[in-house]
Symmetry: C2
Subunit: 309 residues, 2 copies
């Protein structure tokens, strides 16, 4: 029996288990909202990532500033325009926290450049990683206040460029050294101080799946959701916590539950697969992409549809 | 110049840095509320831990069920009674979550034994580690509900034994595999369903330091705080997340801030040093104890005093 909408078999990466379903083929309309975050297949250059995303039939790509800079901003922008792909987000701005005012000013300048790049690339949102405690500091309340203040200074600039700032709450495993905004609730407390077309929030399954009232907070977020990113929480936790994200379905996150909540909140944007994992980076990009497509179809896409009535 | 209240010098463990202050001597009244959690010096037997705690001049010890069982419950109880030490807590009950009702019944039975042991040892509280997601389950809401239900079944038994159940919210790094109660706020939502002499909460710096509204939640906890445990959050995070706690002062936690909040909430009980760390376990127990005394005097004790007016 042939199924023209799919290609067959193969093995999932990085688990090595036989695929549980055929791989959806390019042109399958159910892939329209799927976005590949570049860092999921870190071995691909920007050109390769655009080509791989097109060949797989996705509608969108999530870009990072570093590979964009390597290609050159204007080259990258023209490649994207020619491709017809949407840019789901640009990663990343932020890193606001520092003891030295000169460092905070430097971060502000860097974020201004990031906003311009997002606008040039047609990215609707710039993802903001708030930054951790300043070197040697234990003043978490102060660091959180610094992050909020820095966002306030960027918000009107972002608006003028047609870019919405997306605050990414980060799992508390990263509070000390990467992101002092620790819950979706806390991100919303900041975002709600600004107009909805200036500051929103990033819902990343890896970071917020454990949050006690996550369903209510996603509902509260509503139109402030500027990006929905997916990746799993796996155990045992890999030794390098920065690379501890797993392929959807390999871990403990209930993607139906989260995706349903995001859809019910009114989100109709792209779903960006963002996984940092050494085993996935070591696998061939095409195999990673095929697994991403299957897992998306199995675990996420049905819950996007259900609530689109 | 001699300082009769202290002994000199030495090196901190595990950092190897020269001690920043003399080690307080036994008899120093400022040590009265300090408790050694047995697992901080895991190489000590119960007998050695009691002796080491007495020799250092602490007022209290935090016990674990396993070394108590090794010594024998009645022997352990008589040793404790003879020592004059308070038992700050017994670790640990809990592990409530399981898909199989038979496993949940077995956990209930085990918790009944733990309550009896706490009563026999004179421990005012039994620390409850809720347990992670049941094997193969992604139903976090359901697991949290199981934990709350199990606590409801134990609460009257604990009260009859004069033991308060202490729900320990656990850092979200452990939500999947160890503790589904992830914030002090969530622990209080459960505890407040019961009388204050049945169910309280454990404030462990390592687990809750990052919580966005931690100061308010500690204030809310008030007389429900049945244990204050201290240990630091260090980076880079050790590869084994279960052993990722650090000596107070070696990491990112502001102990003055947390301790002041706990004191302001009215807590007048013991301060239990609980650190799981392979490097600390590898160091001589006496050196660990000396470092604990110094760091306690430097980072914690002054903030207990300040608010005891």
């Amino acid at each position: 029996m042939s199924d023209e909408g799919t290609t067959g078999g193969g093995f999932d990466v990085p688990s090595g288990r036989p695929a549980e379903m055929p791989t959806p083929r390019p042109g399958d309309p159910r892939l329209a909202r799927l976005s590949l975050n570049q860092r999921t297949i870190a071995g691909w250059s920007l050109r390769e990532a655009i080509d791989g995303t097109l060949q797989a039939g996705l509608g969108s790509i999530g870009l990072w500033r570093e590979p964009v800079a390597t290609a050159g901003l204007s080259t990258a922008a023209s490649w994207i325009a020619e491709s017809g792909l949407r840019v789901s987000s640009l990663c990343r701005g932020g890193f606001f926290t520092a003891a030295d005012p000169a460092l905070r000013r430097a971060a502000h300048e860097e974020n201004l450049r990031a906003i311009e790049e997002a606008a040039t690339l047609g990215a609707p949102t710039l993802v903001l990683v708030p930054g951790g405690l300043p070197e040697g500091s234990r003043d978490l309340v102060g660091a959180r206040s610094q992050a909020a203040q820095a966002i306030a200074e960027l918000a009107p600039v972002a608006r003028a460029h047609g870019v919405v700032l997306g605050i990414e709450p980060m799992h508390p495993i990263f509070t000390a050294d990467r992101g002092v905004v620790s819950t979706l609730a806390q991100a919303l407390d900041i975002a709600e101080q600004f107009p909805v077309d200036e500051v929103g929030v990033v819902v990343d399954s890896f970071h917020i799946w454990w949050e006690p009232d996550v369903e209510q907070q996603i509902g509260r977020a509503g139109e402030r959701i500027v990006s929905y990113q997916v990746g799993d929480w796996i155990t045992p936790l890999p030794a390098d916590s920065l690379l501890s994200r797993g392929m959807m379905g390999d871990g403990h996150i209930d993607f139906g539950f989260l995706t349903g909540a995001v859809a019910a909140a009114g989100y109709t944007g792209d779903v960006e697969v963002e996984i940092f994992n050494a085993e996935i980076w070591a696998a061939p990009g095409a195999d990673v992409m095929a697994t991403v497509l299957r897992r998306y179809m199995q675990l996420i896409e049905p819950w996007l549809q259900k609530t689109e009535v």
